[in-house]
Subunit: 358 residues, 2 copies
C-alpha cells in the first residue's frame, strides 16, 4: 500500500530536532557523493487565473541510498507579484478548489522503486528550511548564544526560531516585522510554543541590537539587514540571500552557504510577461560575492571547513538554495514513523505502478 | 476530485490518431514559445536490489497553456545492464510489489494549479514515441509510401507501426527481429490489429529492401541500420539515434530530429558503478553529426523547414530525445475523455492540495 499523508501527519511525525538530525547525517552522505540532488527546475507560463498572474510548475528531487529512499517535490503554483509596501513580493495564490495551494512530495524506495508515500509539501517545506538554518546556527553561532533577533513573523520565522532553540539554549527572542499586529500575535504564539519569551519590537534595529543570533525570515526581494547592525560575535542567518545586504555579508569574518548546487533551470513561456524570479537577485549577489569560494553546510558538518574560530568572530549563513535531497532525508523519518503509527490513508500501490514496460 | 487512471484507461481513451493530432498542434505552440518543456533529469544511485543493478529517479515536465494543462512524468526504476547477444542492453526490472514497474504522470491545471489526474506512464510512453515518429513519417515520407520495413518486435515496434498506418495508407509490412518466435508472434498479432499484412523475415535486409519507410524500434545501443540498405525515396525513422549508423544518416538528403532540447541532466551517486547511459552514444553521434544544424519536428510542422522536396529524396527522422511536454499535450486528451466517460478512481483533491503555504 502507498501512504497518503496530510500536513497534520507530517507535523506530528517530524519534530525539528529529528529533522536536524537526519539532515546532518544526510549532508555527510551528500558530501561523500553517496547522496545526490537534482537542482530545482521552474516552468513558468501564463494562466487564465488573472492577467497579472503566472503559472509555475516547479520540481526538485534527490536520492539517499543509505536510507533506501528517493523523493521528488512538485509545486503547481499560481503566482502574483503585488506591491507590498514599496517592494514587489512574489505571492502564491491558493487557487485550487477550496482555496488551496498545490505542492506534493512523492517518496520512492530505492530498493524496489515502489512509491512509498505522497503528502503535501507545506509543513515539511517550513521544517526543512528551519532545520537548514538551524544547522547553520549549530556549526557557526557561539556555543553560548542565548538571544535571537528575528526579522519576519510569517511561516518561515516560526520554524527558524524552533530550529535555533533546538541547537542552542535560547533565553530571549526579539521579533520585528512591519505589521504591528502580525509581530504581536506571532510573538505571543511563539512564546507559548517555544517556552522562551518572544518580545515584539517597533524597529528592526531593536530586534538585532545585542542579539547573539540575527535571523532573517522574510519574503523580501531587497536587503532588510545591513552592515551597520553587526556586532562582535554575532551569527547572521538568512533564508534567502537577498535579505542580507552584500556589505553586511562582506563584513562577516566567515560566510557559509547551503550548497554549491547550480542555479535552477528556468524555462519561461511567451506571455508570462510578469515573470521576475525572486532569486535573480540571489544570483547577482552570488556573482558579486563569489559564492564558489564559500564553504557549504556539508563542509561545516564534515569538518572540511570551520564554522567559527572564536567568540569574537562574526559568522554568516546564507541558505542560498533548497535541495530536493532534503525531502528524501526528512521524508524517510516521516515515512518510518507513519508506518509505525499506522498513520494516513492507504491506497493500493498498484494504482501507482504498472505491468506495462515504461 | 483527482482522477487516478490505469494503463487500460489510457489505452482506451487515447487513440494513435488523437495523439498525433494533439501533438501536432502542441508543437506549433512549442515552436512559438507558448508551450514549454523542461529537459529530462536522471538521478542514478546504487540499490540494494542487486549488486549489478542501479536505481534511477527520472523526471521531465512541460506546460501547455493553450490547453490549460501541465504534466510531470516520473520514473522510479531498478535498472540492470545484462549482455543480450553480444551487446549490453539497458533493462528495467519490475521490482515493485507484484513484479511491477514504477512510472507516473501527474497532470495539473494551469488555471488553478490543482492536480487533475495521476496515471501510470507505460501506455502513454509507447503511444507518444509512436506518435512522434508518426509525425516524422507524415512530414517526411513520400505521400504514396505503402510499405514499411521494421526492425524490432517489442513494445516500441507496435506503436511505431500503428503511427505509420495512421498517417500513410500502408499496404505491406515486413518485420525483422533477432528472435524468430518474437517476430512471428508479433507479426501475427499486428496483422490482426492493423488489418495490414505483416510478414516476419529472417534477415534485417529482407525487411528493409524495397520498403518506402524503414523503421528502427529497438533498445539497441549500437547501430542496426546501415548506409548500404538505403534506397531512393526511402524514409528512415528511429526511436533513438544510436540505431542508425552515422554514415546512413549522412547519406540521407534531409535529416530532421525531434528537438534541439539540451542533453538530460544526469546526476550519478558514488557506488552506481555500473552506470552507462544508453544515450551517451546519442550525444556522441549528435556531436559527430552537428544536430544543431538539423531542423526539428516543430520546424517541419510549422513549415520553417521542408520535410521532403520530391519522391527521390532520402529522408531521415531521428527521435533524439523525449519531452515532458508531450505528456501534457496527450494527457489533456486522456483527461478530457476520462471526465466525459466517468473513468478511473476518484480521490479527494484535498489529499493532494493544502492550506499550508508551501
Amino acid at each position: 500500500m502507498t501512504l497518503i499523508l496530510s500536513n497534520d501527519d507530517v507535523e506530528r511525525l517530524l519534530t525539528m530536532p529529528d529533522c536536524i538530525e537526519v539532515l546532518e547525517d544526510a549532508y555527510v552522505e551528500l558530501a561523500a557523493g553517496r547522496g545526490i540532488s537534482r537542482t530545482r527546475s521552474d516552468c513558468i507560463a501564463p494562466t487564465s487565473y488573472a492577467d497579472d498572474a503566472m503559472y509555475g510548475l516547479k520540481s526538485m528531487d534527490g536520492v539517499l541510498p543509505k536510507l533506501g529512499i528517493s523523493a521528488i517535490r512538485i509545486n503547481s503554483d499560481i503566482i502574483t507579484n503585488p506591491m507590498i509596501g514599496n517592494t514587489p513580493r512574489r505571492v502564491k495564490v491558493p487557487a485550487a478548489p477550496g482555496g488551496r495551494y498545490v505542492g506534493l512530495v512523492l517518496l520512492f524506495s530505492t530498493d524496489t522503486g515502489e512509491p512509498l508515500a505522497i503528502f503535501p509539501d507545506g509543513v515539511l517545506q517550513h521544517i526543512r528550511v528551519g532545520a537548514t538554518n538551524g544547522l547553520g546556527v549549530k556549526y557557526m553561532a557561539r556555543d553560548n548564544a542565548q538571544t535571537v533577533g528575528i526579522l519576519g513573523s510569517g511561516w518561515q520565522a516560526e520554524t527558524q526560531l524552533s530550529a535555533a532553540c533546538s541547537v542552542r539554549d535560547i533565553k530571549e527572542i526579539r521579533c520585528f516585522s512591519p505589521n504591528k499586529e502580525n509581530r504581536e500575535s506571532f510573538s505571543e504564539r511563539m512564546s507559548e510554543t517555544l517556552q522562551v519569551p518572544v518580545t515584539p519590537v517597533d524597529h528592526a534595529e531593536d530586534s538585532i541590537r545585542g542579539a547573539d543570533i540575527a535571523m532573517c525570515a522574510t519574503n523580501a526581494n531587497d536587503p532588510i539587514f545591513f552592515a551597520d547592525w553587526i556586532e562582535k560575535g554575532m551569527h547572521l542567518s538568512s533564508i534567502k540571500v537577498a535579505e542580507i545586504d552584500v556589505n553586511a555579508v562582506r563584513a562577516a569574518d566567515r560566510v557559509a552557504i547551503h550548497t554549491h548546487d547550480t542555479e535552477p533551470i528556468i524555462v519561461v513561456a511567451k506571455g508570462a510577461t510578469n515573470y521576475e524570479d525572486n532569486q535573480t537577485k540571489s544570483w547577482e549577489m552570488a556573482a558579486a560575492l563569489d559564492f564558489d569560494s564559500f564553504p557549504t553546510l556539508p563542509d561545516l558538518i564534515t569538518g572540511a571547513a570551520k564554522g567559527r574560530e572564536n567568540d569574537a568572530e562574526v559568522t554568516c549563513f546564507l541558505n542560498n538554495l533548497g535541495l530536493g535531497y532534503q525531502f528524501a532525508a526528512a521524508g524517510s523519518v516521516i515515512y518510518r514513523r507513519a508506518k509505525e503509527e499506522g498513520a494516513g490513508n492507504e491506497v493500493p500501490t498498484d494504482w501507482f505502478t504498472e505491468t506495462v514496460h515504461p
